[in-house]
Symmetry: C2
Subunit: 385 residues, 2 copies
């Protein structure tokens, strides 16, 4: 096991009707910037619950944060927050709203000339942040219990991650009832995103950390178990609650402690969203199996463990088990209605040359083995056809 430092101070308030606890979580005199997305919270009753719980607090609203939240949109919220001297941000929504709100929280007090520096410094330039709370309505990114945000810049077709301990939410409210109004694509995307988060922290060289491996496998197995009930669209509270807790635990800094990580699928996926507009989870489902095929020998130990401990495959050589793990992962993605090839989106490997070009310009050497560069990336896109 590798050395590590771990600290996660986020307060999680989990369960039925937990939004009503907002009143105990935010200062009565706070000037609140309420951020949200396309307005679904107004249709599904969450907005009303939030406004009721906030009582007489001064609330400024900023709606319209889009999927893959853009620097351009968020900068308007920063302007509003500065003008109104807001001192608390309440993000109500999924990963895009939460990620975007972390950027807003860091950008409002930012002293530099250009708040994009927050992103290019990967968060290192963040010296203070407005306190932030979240209400999660779409289990997927784990943003509710981590320091990260992924921000897109439309003008330059960039999609980049940043993180700062100052961006940890002070609290996150997770009420599984809020997920009842999600559509199948949102549920599918959330399941796949969560699954791939675990993969990026598990499917690496073996770090001899069986407890972390067991935790990761527990998330995999729970996701696989609850997926049919979640995808059925039925109001199955326990299925939704377990889904929600899986998403949080998959990316709150716990399962990665002491082990190797490999975020290459995410890095490549972000480029595909930036260039082709695919949803985040859609890109992951295409790229993950291709990266695993490309790295088959180097990841064979852990992929074989995935086959054995999650998919129950006990026969065959290590390599055969590793191949079976890829096959079963693809099958699982497909089972929730998620395509796993470029062709499903009418894309060809040749279309991905724009990304290969960027990788060449930026001198990529990514993946746990630093062996994904412009040349090998072309092979990965070929495997993803």
């Amino acid at each position: 096991m590798q050395n590590f430092t771990f600290q996660n101070p986020v307060k999680i308030v989990f369960g039925k009707n937990s939004i009503s606890q907002l009143d105990q979580l935010i200062e009565p005199k706070a000037r609140v910037l309420l951020t949200y997305g396309g307005g679904s919270i107004k249709r599904n009753g969450v907005y009303k619950q939030v406004k009721t719980a906030l009582k007489k607090r001064k609330v400024f609203e900023f709606g319209g944060i889009e999927p893959n939240p853009s620097f351009e949109t968020l900068s308007k919220a920063v302007e509003l927050g500065r003008k109104e001297k807001i001192d608390f941000i309440l993000a109500v929504g999924g990963g895009s709203v939460m990620d975007g709100s972390k950027f807003i929280a860091a950008a409002i007090p930012f002293k530099g000339k250009n708040t994009w520096q927050i992103i290019t410094s990967q968060g290192a330039a963040v010296k203070s942040a407005i306190p932030l709370g979240t209400i999660v309505t779409l289990p997927a990114t784990g943003s509710e219990m981590n320091t990260y945000g992924v921000i897109s810049r439309k003008s330059t077709k960039e999609k980049l991650a940043f993180g700062s301990p100052l961006c940890y939410p002070k609290f996150s409210i997770l009420d599984p009832l809020t997920t009842y109004s999600l559509d199948k694509k949102q549920l599918r995307n959330g399941i796949v995103d969560t699954f791939v988060h675990v993969c990026e922290q598990y499917a690496t060289k073996n770090s001899k950390a069986p407890l972390q491996d067991g935790f990761a496998e527990s998330i995999y197995k729970t996701l696989i178990d609850i997926a049919p009930a979640v995808m059925s669209g039925k109001k199955d509270y326990d299925a939704r609650a377990n889904f929600m807790w899986c998403a949080t635990m998959a990316l709150n800094g716990l399962i990665c402690q002491g082990v190797l990580q490999d975020w290459s699928t995410h890095t490549i996926g972000h480029e595909m969203t930036a260039f082709f507009g695919l949803a985040h989870a859609e890109t992951l489902a295409i790229i993950l199996p291709a990266v695993w095929k490309f790295e088959l020998n180097k990841k064979a130990d852990k992929l074989a463990m995935l086959a054995e401990n999650v998919f129950g495959i006990n026969k065959g050589t290590k390599k055969q088990k590793a191949e079976a793990a890829i096959k079963h992962t693809v099958k699982f993605f497909n089972s929730v209605g998620m395509p796993t090839s470029l062709a499903s989106y009418n894309l060809k490997p040749a279309d991905c040359e724009v990304i290969v070009k960027r990788a060449a310009e930026q001198g990529w050497q990514i993946g746990e083995n630093l062996d994904i560069n412009a040349n090998t990336l072309r092979k990965i896109f070929a495997l993803a056809k």
Copy 2:
């Protein structure tokens, strides 16, 4: 899954030679009360590492905190801390030193007449606490990442738990190398204590929380896997590191979220330590199987899951599987050299009448089903003979 609130702000610094990071974790001008136990840290080199890392800080020492730390001993440390106006406590040791230091931290600024109120109020009377850091040398209690302490009062033969969020350590340093000097009894006790912590949060009625169940099962399986290497006494770093992380994760408030708990084995065990002087883990290994036999029908679902998912038993009825889980748990305890009966300590059920008497006086109704009272407790001691 039940509603819950979860927050654990402890900073964990884990790994080889991590004690050297102390200098970055404590204010340079701190007046430090260094607490420890019987002096083993002076023999195994930990004391020297700590003193070197503390550099020129003003350090006051309080050694001699005994196993099952006593109110009487700790009160002397409180006196020293008040006299010297210490503003940081550094606990170096196992659960007794950490638990005792939490009491010291809460008692120094305590305004009430008698600091024992901290215990009788179960921590509710704690309004402030001196900041505390820990260096764990014996993986067992999980005290390094929770709010709890268990304190004994010799004069009244009491052993009681308290807890306060103000008693969370600011940081805990876990260096698996510090465990190399532990003797077999300490290692055995740590393994059994950790295992039983998981049991108290797992072997209850099913709460439909498969992720928490999976995490708990991962701790069980890791403990079972690494126990032979740990007990061999060899300097197997990964075995020790995984043992240490299991102990922390078993009682840091994670696996209990959203599920039923049953701490009756601990409650009964504390009385056995108070009256008979048995080590904490020794009492647990006697009482747990007896409680499980007594509650067999009510706990059958989860005990059968334990049999299937941890001990690999797939045959038989639910009841047979539940019985097999008890048998295999006893076998595991015995495999690390831990006795599991009263007779092993020359005790008879009749000797436990002092505890039955106390249970009657205090009107016990404990366990998840509130069905352990003075009468049924007598049955449990009979099952533990």
